[in-house]
């Protein structure tokens, strides 16, 4: 897999104000019996988007995902907590979500998201509170300068791991980087044998 690159993104936001949205919400476990990584968009937030009979819930803001430029999800704190399933970012991307903004995003989700070109954006609490109240707002995320801009003059900074940022901006696959380290890895193994 070559990594998808990410430069900047301007899009309307979908707001899910709940804290601690775990990966079982993002993709329920019953959809994990797959050996594929594509086509998981239908399963994304399935129980939030469909009722017990499988009918779409009309009032779910997630119905907008991917439509009319709704590619940014603003969520409550501790987004993506729970399991290490990479199916969570795969499902979100397939649904049309390209970035998630929160005050804090769980470690493993963040790491998985970055490896798939889904940008996790952690902003300060004030900006977060403001965005939680602004469904439909148009937001620009600039990875090069690590800034979020919206509402004319509101601007906030965020930080993405520098290596992940480099990989995303340049479209570099970290696996390639690791494979280049093989001589050092073999040397390390010799030293321990």
């Amino acid at each position: 897999m070559s990594l998808k690159s990410f430069q900047n993104l301007t899009s309307r936001v979908i707001v899910l104000p709940e804290d601690n949205i775990d990966t079982d919400q993002i993709i329920p476990a019953r959809f994990l019996t797959t050996t594929e990584r594509s086509g998981l968009g239908k399963a994304a937030f399935y129980d939030w988007r469909y009722d017990d009979a499988g009918r779409p819930r009309n009032q779910s803001p997630l119905n907008l995902a991917g439509q009319g430029g709704h590619a940014i999800l603003v969520a409550g704190s501790n987004f993506g907590c729970g399991s290490s399933r990479e199916h969570a970012p795969w499902a979100l991307l397939d649904l049309g979500v390209k970035a998630v903004i929160s005050s804090d995003i769980a470690d493993i989700f963040k790491s998985n998201a970055l490896k798939n070109g889904l940008l996790p954006v952690e902003v300060d609490r004030k900006t977060h509170r403001r965005l939680l109240k602004a469904p439909g707002e148009e937001v620009t995320i600039d990875l090069e300068t690590q800034t979020v801009r919206f509402g004319g003059k509101w601007q906030a900074v965020f930080k993405v791991d520098s290596f992940a940022r480099y990989c995303l901006l340049e479209g570099v696959d970290p696996l390639g980087f690791l494979m280049q380290q093989l001589p050092a890895i073999k040397e390390f193994e010799k030293g321990r044998a």
Partner: protein, 480 residues
């Protein structure tokens, strides 16, 4: 000696340093060497696909070990030898792992292997998990193995591919946190209660960015099983790493296991392991202190593991819209005593609480008693070896006589991928680790608890305090 060499180091820092292939810099994470890579059917197929696409073979199949647990049925095969898979996809996933392991020469505990079981149960049981090792698995509860003084953490599927290809991961060094449990546990209180009390204290994201070291007399006094339960739940506090310093108990547990070192190698290994505990005066980035003697049996009442409270307490007044929503989902009224909540199902199992000591704890409550009418109880041992050991001491008869089901090993209702699940609206008291909405089946309300609390709840058909059962049988033994 430089300052860096004389600075006291924590267990975590020692292990981290010993596994660095390429140092971390501001521009990139460290290249960290992995001693043991555990894999299972759910998070590995896409990683093998990536390797196949790049024509890369698994670099160190000898450091890789596979088991089947998540999608695997816990009911036996029918007369034709056909296993009752939940879906064709589940069967395909299991078969994909079998095929990938064959193609990559990776040892696999297959469906009929008497050692097969949940990935975090079999590692320690086989002696694969050892102090000082770096251990990864595409599974967030990999922190369990930290109970042995290993540096163990969950990774995603892309990283599973990285480890298969290179035996390394790219990882930045986390901060360190020490959680000290002072005092001694009260009767009827165990490691699960300690874990829930800690998560309630620091929050579901309180450990975010940290490696936790569990310390203090109450941790030292835990059995290895109890330490595993505690480290297992680190991730529910947001921490990817949980660990306990290795000691005589650790060595005793590992001695004579299938993959433990033997003879002179054993003595050398133990000598090495003795150097691992944190140096005196180590400074941690954060310190948390908890009085273990004040911890009662705990349960959760919400939809996040930090919504935990004493089992004999009452549901709190929701303080935010989110808590209100959780209370509505769980159908707990404010101020309602937990003991008035009717239980539909009880699950005793998962990598948190499915070891022999957990089954003994549950059996001690259920012995010569009957499960309340209308309550479905599943007891699922963590591995086939545990199942055999439990059957050898007739624990299965205790459960069966009480009216519970006794299953083959697997993740089962912890993640509800294999067909074992609750019905919408049901209240399940579960010894697993996550009470997320829908985790145990769509619309299921999960209450996390210790094996003793789960067993007492099965008997009473409502959320029940296990302590009266211990005094009723005159037993003052601790759960762990």
């Amino acid at each position: 000696m430089s300052v860096a060499e004389t600075k006291p180091q924590s267990l975590f820092e020692k292990l981290w340093r010993r596994h660095i292939v390429v140092e971390e810099e501001s521009e990139r994470p460290a290249v960290l060497y992995i001693d043991l890579h555990l894999i299972h059917e759910v998070t590995s197929p896409q990683a093998f696909d990536v390797l196949a696409g790049k024509k890369i073979r698994t670099r160190r199949p000898d450091l890789t070990f596979a088991t089947l647990d998540h999608s695997t049925p816990t009911l036996p095969a029918d007369n034709h030898g056909v296993l009752p898979y939940a879906t064709p996809a589940a069967a395909a996933q299991v078969n994909a792992l079998i095929r990938n392991c064959r193609e990559h020469d990776i040892p696999l505990l297959g469906l009929d292997d008497p050692r097969r079981g949940i990935v975090h149960v079999i590692g320690p049981e086989l002696g694969l998990t050892q102090p000082g090792k770096t251990i990864v698995c595409g599974d967030s509860h990999t922190s369990t193995h930290g109970a042995f003084g290993a540096l163990a953490f969950g990774i995603g599927t892309t990283e599973v591919g990285h480890v298969l290809a290179s035996q390394c991961v790219l990882q930045r060094q986390p901060k360190t946190m020490r959680v000290t449990f002072n005092g001694a546990l009260s009767p009827g209180v165990g490691a699960k209660d300690m874990a829930l009390a800690m998560i309630a204290d620091i929050g579901a994201d309180g450990g975010q960015g940290y490696a936790i070291e569990f310390a203090g007399p109450a941790v030292q006094n835990l059995s290895m099983e109890g330490r595993m339960t505690l480290c297992n739940m680190s991730i529910e506090a947001g921490a990817r790493f949980g660990m306990v310093a290795p000691d005589e108990k650790t060595f005793e547990y590992l001695s004579g296991r299938e993959f433990s070192p033997l003879g002179d190698s054993w003595d050398e290994a133990v000598a090495e392991w003795r150097t691992l505990p944190s140096d005196p005066d180590t400074v941690y980035d954060r310190e948390v202190r908890i009085n273990a003697s004040a911890i009662p049996p705990m349960i959760t009442y919400g939809v996040s593991p930090d919504a935990a409270a004493p089992v004999d307490g009452r549901a709190p007044q929701p303080k935010s819209d989110i808590e209100k929503h959780a209370a509505e989902y769980m159908k707990f009224d404010a101020e309602q005593p937990f003991s008035t909540a009717t239980v539909d199902r009880v699950f005793i199992g998962s990598c948190t609480n499915s070891r022999l000591s957990d089954l003994r704890e549950a059996a001690s409550v259920m012995r010569d008693r009957k499960v309340k009418e209308g309550v479905t109880v599943l007891v699922v041992p963590g591995s086939e070896a545990i199942r055999a050991a439990a059957e050898a001491e007739n624990l299965h008869l205790v459960f069966l006589n009480a009216g519970a089901q006794w299953r083959n090993s697997g993740c089962s209702m912890c993640i509800a991928m294999n067909g074992d699940q609750g019905e919408p609206g049901e209240l399940v008291v579960s010894t697993s680790n996550r009470n997320f909405i829908g985790r145990q089946g769509r619309g299921v309300r999960t209450v996390l608890a210790s094996p003793a609390t789960a067993a007492a709840s099965a008997i009473e058909g409502r959320i029940a305090d296990p302590r009266p059962y211990l005094t009723m049988t005159g037993k003052q033994n601790r759960c762990h």
